[in-house]
Symmetry: C2
Subunit: 176 residues, 2 copies
């Protein structure tokens, strides 16, 4: 399904004859020094860098798992949140998921366009609009939860229960 260059495991370039045309040693090194794992140099010690890679890997697997459902991480999070808190307002969702108001709206729009939720007027605050899942939305969420379980299993397979808890704990310190 995905060409994804990334899958390609690093094949080691076989030793090159030393007297080609005498390309700069640097160039030789640059392409030859790929052992089992890519040498990342000093960025390897930057936490943010690893977060980004881990996020990318997680995102990729998520997308794959959800390709049939056609839902993204954000969409599922929003559906989930609305299900947990019926009649929640956009602003609340944004706050909880740490998204901009505009970004939140974009997602809600897409969700609404697919009839997974409905906007309704709030009786408490007429600035607000209460968001509620439709039957379809509820079904989609149930389906999504199944996929999430599978996805979460993929992530957790590399950790003990203790490690998983610890990881969440550490990550929470960053975003909370």
């Amino acid at each position: 399904m995905a060409e994804r260059d990334l899958e390609a495991t690093e094949r080691q370039r076989s030793g090159h004859s030393a007297n080609v045309d005498c390309a700069s040693d640097a160039e030789t090194r640059a392409s030859a020094m790929t052992g089992d794992e890519a040498d990342l140099g000093a960025i390897d010690d930057i936490i943010g860098f690893h977060i980004r890679l881990a996020h990318g890997a997680t995102y990729r697997h998520f997308t794959e798992t959800f390709s049939e459902l056609g839902l993204t991480q954000k969409m599922v999070s929003v559906l989930w949140l609305i299900d947990d808190h019926p009649h929640i307002a956009q602003a609340d969702i944004g706050r909880r998921l740490q998204m901009d108001r505009a970004t939140t709206m974009a997602i809600i729009n897409r969700l609404e366009a697919r009839s997974l939720l409905v906007r309704g007027a709030s009786t408490l605050d007429r600035r607000r609009q209460t968001l509620t899942l439709t039957a379809t939305g509820h079904e989609a969420l149930i389906e999504a939860r199944r996929c999430i379980d599978e996805h979460e299993q993929w992530v957790r397979s590399r950790f003990t229960k203790r490690e998983a808890t610890l990881l969440i704990e550490l990550l929470r310190r960053i975003h909370e």
Copy 2:
């Protein structure tokens, strides 16, 4: 600089009089049950969810730190990598940073447009193009490293040295 709704701390809605117009209890609950921290319900146990939030928080702080330099995480990573491995090829960069070839090119293009690097023909493999930092690019990287230190400090401030090492270790298991 940033309006960012996210900054807004959750102010608790003062208790509502019980006999307004009798809005559904659900709606009341949805907006009222925001204590000190947003209640996220069950998604709170999903590792991927926390990775995403942590990534978002990190990304935001990074962007802020680099707003003057006008560089993104990806750009810096690429510059850094080229500096560590002069004459590296695009494909290698993509593999190491786990990016698509097309995505990699987009970034290289932007970097080249800003004269931070130059593409040159490879003497070893004429399909490849060796990438090298310009003087400007090198300066930018030096400047960037200063910002990264600051950024990394922001992240690390919430961890002990041991925890930081552990966190990287755990994250590595996900993306490696």
